[in-house]
């Protein structure tokens, strides 16, 4: 008789506070028909208050719990060795005013910083020289040159970030999205090492 249970742990799930985490939530299951229903109801972890907002479930914990219930089965883990459970504590709605403050911070900050940059690299002097070199005329300032330049800065940034506001230029992720993803992965990696009872050596026999 077939006695193997195959599990593929999910990388990351989000649950409500105080929730009972059932096996199908954290893993894709392939199991013999007779125990399938039971496995689908199998509660693997109870979120406690002191868990705060993340719990890491190690594959070995999952195996131990299942073996306690189904001692004569064999369990095969396919894929990731941990599941990160994120407890969705009440998400505070960000007040609009707060958002506007951040928006203004970035707006004013980046505006001033480009002015600093121009001053820092002596842009007026260089552009005067350039204007002379290109047209053979001397002018104090040439808006014909400066305005397209200024708009070009915006275009260049849009091009780099791959966004025309709501619309994407092509299907690929923008560097910002990749950056966010890498940051998230770094956090996950950290959590796996620091929140995991199996690797930090805390008692997990509960």
């Amino acid at each position: 008789m077939e006695k193997t249970i195959y599990l593929r742990l999910r990388h990351r799930i989000v649950v409500e506070p105080q929730a009972k985490v059932r096996l199908p939530q954290i893993a894709i299951i392939i199991a013999p028909e007779r125990i399938k229903a039971e496995l689908h109801d199998f509660s693997i972890y109870q979120i406690k208050k002191e868990d705060k907002n993340t719990v890491v479930l190690d594959a070995i914990t999952v195996i131990r719990k299942i073996l306690e219930r189904f001692p004569d089965h064999e369990i095969q883990i396919v894929g990731p060795n941990h599941t990160i459970i994120e407890v969705q504590l009440e998400k505070k709605k960000i007040p609009l005013i707060f958002f506007l403050c951040v928006w203004l911070l970035l707006f004013i900050g980046s505006g001033i910083s480009i002015m600093h940059f121009h001053e820092d690299v002596s842009m007026p002097f260089v552009q005067q020289k350039l204007f002379h070199a290109l047209t053979g005329r001397h002018v104090e300032k040439s808006l014909l040159f400066h305005i397209p330049y200024s708009i070009g800065i915006g275009l260049g940034m849009i091009l780099f970030f791959n966004h025309v506001f709501k619309k994407k230029i092509n299907e690929e992720p923008s560097p910002m999205e990749v950056e966010m993803f890498q940051y998230q992965q770094g956090i996950d990696q950290y959590l796996l090492m620091h929140e995991n009872e199996e690797t930090t050596g805390a008692d997990s026999s509960d």
Binding site: F99, G111, L155
Partner: protein, 129 residues
């Protein structure tokens, strides 16, 4: 001999800088033209050569002022990409967005930066200096 060495140092430095910021890969990715990469490299090299030559001797080319607008636009796009790349290298964004729980509004924050740059630049040229 000294000049050659100095030029070599500056040249490699420039290439390293451009490479770290990853502007060329970004453009290649956007236009899906990896096979033309060699031309982009040469465009950069020629640009640097012309730039340093123009900067050092700079005898007038007598271009029409309207053509200058076009050059200004490309100039700006490049500086804009440079600025955007710097933002990315400095890694400010993911951290800000996460700290204040605003992942969903990332796009409008990016718009803030872009408009900030445009207005800052126009203000600088028209009024400030």
């Amino acid at each position: 001999m000294v000049a050659l060495a100095a030029g070599g140092a500056v040249g490699t430095g420039f290439v390293a800088f451009i490479a770290v910021l990853g502007i060329i890969p970004r453009l290649v990715q956007l236009t899906k033209t990896v096979h033309l990469l060699i031309f982009y490299e040469w465009a950069t090299i020629l640009g640097v050569l012309c730039g340093s030559w123009l900067g050092s001797y700079g005898f007038p080319l007598h271009l029409h002022p309207y053509l200058l607008g076009l050059i200004g636009l490309f100039y700006g796009v490049f500086v804009g990409m440079l600025a955007a790349a710097l933002y990315e290298v400095l890694n400010v964004f993911p951290i800000i967005a996460r700290r204040i729980n605003m992942e969903g509004r990332l796009r409008s924050l990016m718009t803030a930066i872009i408009f900030g740059k445009i207005f800052g630049s126009i203000y600088y040229w028209v009024i400030f200096f």
